[in-house]
């Protein structure tokens, strides 16, 4: 599985007479596109959103004035990406807080049967994996990864430092990944 893949073809952009800046941006993207998308995917917890925002970063860099000096192109790239990711999350917050009509989203009430079964099995495995962990570890994982609460709010809730929350989340994530890998491996 190689989910981090090239999502755009910057070579096409060189056709436009963008000059030195454009060429620089294109080479930057060739080199670091996979890392950029991987970074955005973590921040947004969505590959599709990460790919979209990566495009936005690309466009933003292309439209920079030639006079802008960039000391570390890679740092500049990530900084621009981090900022656009924040914008995207803000936009989502607005949407997530829109009125929720529980009766309206019946899309999950009538699932395709076999897909539903597979999903249930997948979640049963995850639940088992979490059951094997210390309560704090699984709790931090569920609050941060599943509920989507930020480290600060989980830390407050669990009376731990943010660093400890991160530690528990990382441990749970590694453990669940191992369990899922084992389940997916052919006998």
């Amino acid at each position: 599985m190689n989910a981090v893949r090239q999502t755009m073809d910057p070579s096409e952009a060189t056709a436009s007479p963008g000059g030195h800046r454009a060429a620089q941006v294109v080479s930057l993207f060739r080199e670091h596109n996979a890392a950029l998308v991987a970074f955005l995917r973590v921040r947004l917890n969505s590959l599709a959103d990460a790919q979209e925002v990566a495009q936005e970063v690309y466009l933003k860099l292309l439209t920079l004035k030639d006079t802008t000096t960039i000391d570390s192109p890679r740092a500049f790239l990530f900084r621009a990406a981090a900022n656009l990711a924040v914008d995207r999350i803000r936009m989502r917050t607005v949407r997530a807080n829109a009125p929720v009509d529980p009766d309206a989203d019946d899309w999950h009430a009538a699932p395709v049967p076999e897909r539903h079964t597979a999903a249930l099995e997948q979640w049963r495995d995850l639940r088992q994996a979490l059951d094997e962990l210390p309560a704090r570890t699984s709790r931090a994982f569920v609050m941060h990864v599943i509920e989507g609460r930020d480290f600060a709010s989980v830390a407050l809730d669990m009376n731990l430092s943010e660093r400890m929350v991160r530690y528990h989340v990382a441990n749970a994530l590694a453990h669940c990944r191992e369990r899922r890998d084992a389940a997916e491996k052919p006998l």
């Binding site: 989910a3 973590v42 917890n45 740092a75 999903a119 990382a170 441990n171 990944r177």
Partner: protein, 339 residues
């Protein structure tokens, strides 16, 4: 603080998971980010392991709502937390308070202590407190409420400084008077509730009768007499008193961990809810405070009440670590479907 996940002796998956968690921190130093990208680009196995870890987190973050609820209830239940961490200590605290207060008042009310030494009682945020007065009367304080009691020779006086309290008054020759902002409530042998939100005061009678008059009035000027099932509400904006028929049970619903409001300005509702909320709710725009709210708020599920507000008001909810903000929202943005 600034340790780097080390690959020494750890499976790649663990290093990948450590990095994933570190990258989730919006305050990650730029230098660490560059270290991560060096690690990622150094070996295709690193990139693959990182993608697998990210994919697992992504799928876990996008469960169907019913599945998510199942996980939250199993591994991060909210109800247990409230019960074990909050309710018990509070019940204990209330028990202690009764004993201590009883002793305090006994001293203050001994014959001869006619000067009426003031005693101040306060409850914590989200806390309830029962105060047994030596004359047989009792006061039940709602969350974040404070009162000052002065028992003099001729009058039993209670000042409600802020919050909400339910008074059950024992009959005695000395009148029992509650001062709450602009209102003075004189008891005629009864049980009644007073809620004070800044200068807004609501008096609800559950049994018997009370007399309500402007605190500034001399004698009986402007006095109204309320019987059971009646409520007088003083609105500082209009400086007028409104009298309503009520269900006595709903006026004291807070005693059962519910707050009920009828046509109450949102500003006042929020201030009352904040007496119970772990995280204060703020109105981003003062004009929002003029919206009126009718409904019930369960004090132990304030979060879900807040998150439902956008359904009835043109607001969105911004949650911060230390507060929750209600921000005016245009109708267009509100109608955007949830993700």
């Amino acid at each position: 603080m600034n340790t780097t996940p080390s690959s020494a002796g750890r499976p790649i998956e663990h290093t990948a998971a450590d990095w994933w968690a570190r990258l989730r921190d919006p305050g990650l130093p730029e230098q660490s980010l560059l270290q991560w990208s060096d690690w990622l680009e150094a070996d295709t196995r690193h990139a693959e392991a990182f993608a697998r870890v990210s994919a697992l987190a992504e799928s876990a973050g996008h469960m169907a709502p019913d599945v998510r609820t199942g996980f939250v209830e199993r591994f991060a239940p909210r109800a247990t937390r409230v019960a074990t961490r909050r309710r018990w200590p509070m019940a204990l605290a209330a028990g202690v308070a009764i004993v201590v207060l009883g002793a305090g008042l006994f001293v203050a009310l001994r014959p001869g202590a006619s000067a009426g030494t003031p005693s101040r009682y306060a409850s914590e945020r989200a806390g309830h407190r029962d105060i047994a007065l030596p004359d047989g009367s009792s006061i039940e304080l709602g969350g974040a409420t404070s009162v000052t009691a002065r028992y003099g020779r001729d009058e039993r006086t209670i000042d409600l400084d802020a919050g909400e309290a339910f008074f059950r008054v024992a009959h005695a020759p000395r009148p029992f008077v509650v001062n709450a902002g602009a209102l003075r409530i004189r008891d005629l042998g009864t049980a009644f509730n007073v809620r004070r939100t800044a200068d807004r005061v609501t008096v609800s009678v559950t049994e018997g009768r009370v007399q309500v008059s402007p605190a500034s009035a001399q004698g009986d000027a402007g006095m109204v007499e309320l019987g059971a099932g009646r409520e007088a509400s003083f609105d500082p904006a209009t400086q007028a008193m409104r009298i309503l028929d009520i269900d006595p049970a709903s006026a004291t619903s807070w005693r059962g961990h519910r707050l009920e409001f009828v046509n109450e300005p949102l500003s006042s509702v929020v201030e009352n809810v904040n007496r119970y909320s772990a995280r204060p709710i703020r109105l981003h725009d003062a004009a929002l405070g003029k919206l009126t709210f009718t409904g019930t708020v369960q004090v132990d599920t304030i979060d879900s009440w807040v998150s439902a507000l956008p359904r009835v008001f043109p607001v969105r909810v911004d949650t911060f670590v230390d507060r929750v903000e209600l921000v005016r929202q245009t109708s267009m943005a509100r109608n955007t479907p949830p993700r």
